[in-house]
């Protein structure tokens, strides 16, 4: 029963990793930019929610911060990142690395290095009893559902809306997209806006579940990366699956020995990279360049 519990808790945690990873995956898929600051943007959103919630309430903080994250993403893409895209593959990498350093240090300056957490009152401790030994926390369940909902929404957006199709078209061939009237720079802005929006959701839920500090961005990025690679690059459902596999691996690892949780995740990640480098659910057909 302890194993069932470990697997279920891991699965629920996987939803969080999927949330952190889906934006990373989208940004990479459309522009081939590896956003090294993705985790830091998540943590930034978590801090921002704490600050805004002090003046309003938690819901107000979330409702205000997430759209601002999207706007920030669009703005950064249209100003710095689009320019850097023209300068080869290294420039965007350096710029997102710079974002990462800047965000961490600004957060350190404003919020100090002390651990914080987004307080949700009873919500964080409520749970649903499944059986005598198995309880599902309400917050982990909400986190998992958020991961699934974001994946479903993104899937629907990319496959059934004109803007989503334009995003996929630009990912396939930016020059041809230009020739059907798509402004690539705008599309890239949209992709980063969605990316940071979902990073924000992930960061806020992360901040509700555990304590965090300004230095936590990179570790969130590592988990997001692992989820993307385990699931398969460019595949939305793969990213969700990757997050879940990573979460379950960590859950089982922690059950063996509390210190082995994160290690077990890394081992599964490396095993997938060696045995199935295309990931568990790779994007179908050879569209990748």
């Amino acid at each position: 029963m302890v194993w069932t519990n470990a697997i279920v808790q891991g699965l629920l945690t996987g939803g969080l990793y999927a949330l952190l990873a889906s934006g990373l995956s989208l940004i990479f898929g459309v522009m081939r930019i590896v956003n090294l600051a993705h985790g830091d943007f998540s943590i930034l959103a978590a801090y921002a929610v704490i600050s805004v919630a002090m003046h309003t309430n938690l819901i107000g903080g979330i409702v205000l911060v997430l759209p601002v994250m999207a706007l920030l993403g669009y703005f950064l893409q249209r100003t710095l990142l689009n320019k850097s895209l023209a300068m080869g593959v290294l420039s965007p990498l350096l710029i997102t690395f710079a974002f990462s350093i800047i965000i961490q240090n600004v957060l350190l300056q404003v919020y100090t290095a002390n651990n914080k957490s987004i307080l949700t009152g009873r919500f964080s401790s409520e749970s649903i009893k499944i059986s005598k030994d198995l309880q599902i926390g309400l917050l982990p369940l909400v986190t998992f559902l958020a991961g699934v909902i974001v994946t479903v929404c993104l899937h629907y957006f990319l496959n059934h809306s004109q803007l989503g199709r334009a995003l996929r078209a630009t990912s396939d061939d930016p020059m041809a997209a230009d020739l059907v009237g798509i402004n690539n720079r705008h599309i890239y802005g949209i992709a980063t806006a969605i990316g940071l929006f979902s990073a924000g959701i992930g960061g806020v839920l992360f901040g509700m579940r555990t304590q965090f500090a300004p230095s936590f961005g990179p570790i969130a990025l590592v988990f997001a990366f692992e989820a993307v690679i385990i699931g398969g690059l460019g595949s939305l459902w793969g990213t969700l699956l990757g997050g879940v596999v990573l979460g379950i691996a960590q859950g089982i690892g922690s059950q063996i020995q509390p210190a082995y949780g994160i290690l077990a995740g890394h081992i599964v990640f490396i095993a997938v990279l060696v045995l199935r480098p295309q990931g568990l659910l790779p994007k179908q057909m050879g569209a990748q360049k």
Binding site: Q162, R165, A176, A177, D178
Partner: protein, 239 residues
């Protein structure tokens, strides 16, 4: 009155000059073909008109407006669509999705999913096939269809017949008259001289980035084109 006129266009790829003062003009509903050997600058000319490559000097005038500074996607909005060399179909999108993306600018006009199914019944049979798996002929029809979805006033087609089976080439060319019937002007770049002359009312022959011959397609004779095509006097030594 012409819908498009280019005058004294020069264009460069880096330090390499590809076009040396090209001029031509097209009327609405007219088919104009541009022929010439490999490297004569045909595709470059289309890229300059579509906005893929900036002209280093000269003017591109479309519907009486100078459009040199417009980007490719802005030109699509004002009604210039290019069917690019190599077709450049979105390979992870289905036939239907490729066509839908073609309508991104929401320009109104005759062409929509339904009229395109009628124009190219083959595409209707391949509706849910992913671009990556389409054959050369399907890709060419899809590329033209995708460009038509923007309901252009000026359609630029680069190498419509390249690499296609003769029966498919015939189908593609048969569709041209349907397209011009809507008032759309077509600028056609073509390797196949006979095909180009048959399909167009006027023709320009390019050699090394210059227009060396132009006129109504019916007035141009094959020997004279041959001279122009390869440089003066070439036909004297050949057949």
């Amino acid at each position: 009155m012409s819908i498009l006129s280019v005058s004294n266009i020069e264009a460069h790829y880096g330090d390499l000059q590809a076009l040396f003062g090209i001029s031509l003009s097209i009327d609405p509903g007219q088919v104009h073909s541009v022929i010439g050997a490999n490297g004569a600058g045909k595709s470059t000319l289309l890229k300059v008109i579509a906005g893929n490559l900036p002209a280093s000097s000269g003017e591109v005038t479309y519907q009486n407006k100078k459009i040199n500074n417009q980007s490719a996607h802005e030109r699509v909005k004002s009604g210039i669509s290019l069917v690019p060399e190599g077709r450049r179909i979105f390979s992870s999108l289905t036939v239907e999705e490729n066509l839908k993306v073609g309508a991104f600018t929401k320009r109104a006009g005759h062409w929509n999913l339904k009229t395109l199914k009628e124009l190219y019944p083959l595409l209707a049979d391949r509706w849910n096939r992913i671009g990556f798996y389409c054959s050369g002929g399907e890709l060419q029809m899809l590329a033209i269809g995708r460009a038509l979805m923007a309901n252009p006033d000026l359609l630029l087609i680069d190498e419509a017949s390249l690499g296609l089976a003769p029966v498919v080439v015939a189908q593609v060319y048969a569709s041209l008259s349907e397209i011009t019937k809507q008032g759309t002007a077509v600028l056609l770049v073509e390797q196949d001289v006979h095909q180009a002359l048959r399909a167009s009312s006027t023709t320009s022959v390019l050699l090394e980035g210059k227009v060396v011959m132009e006129g109504s397609s019916s007035s141009l004779t094959i020997p004279s084109i041959k001279d122009a095509y390869f440089g003066v006097g070439a036909s004297n030594g050949l057949d």
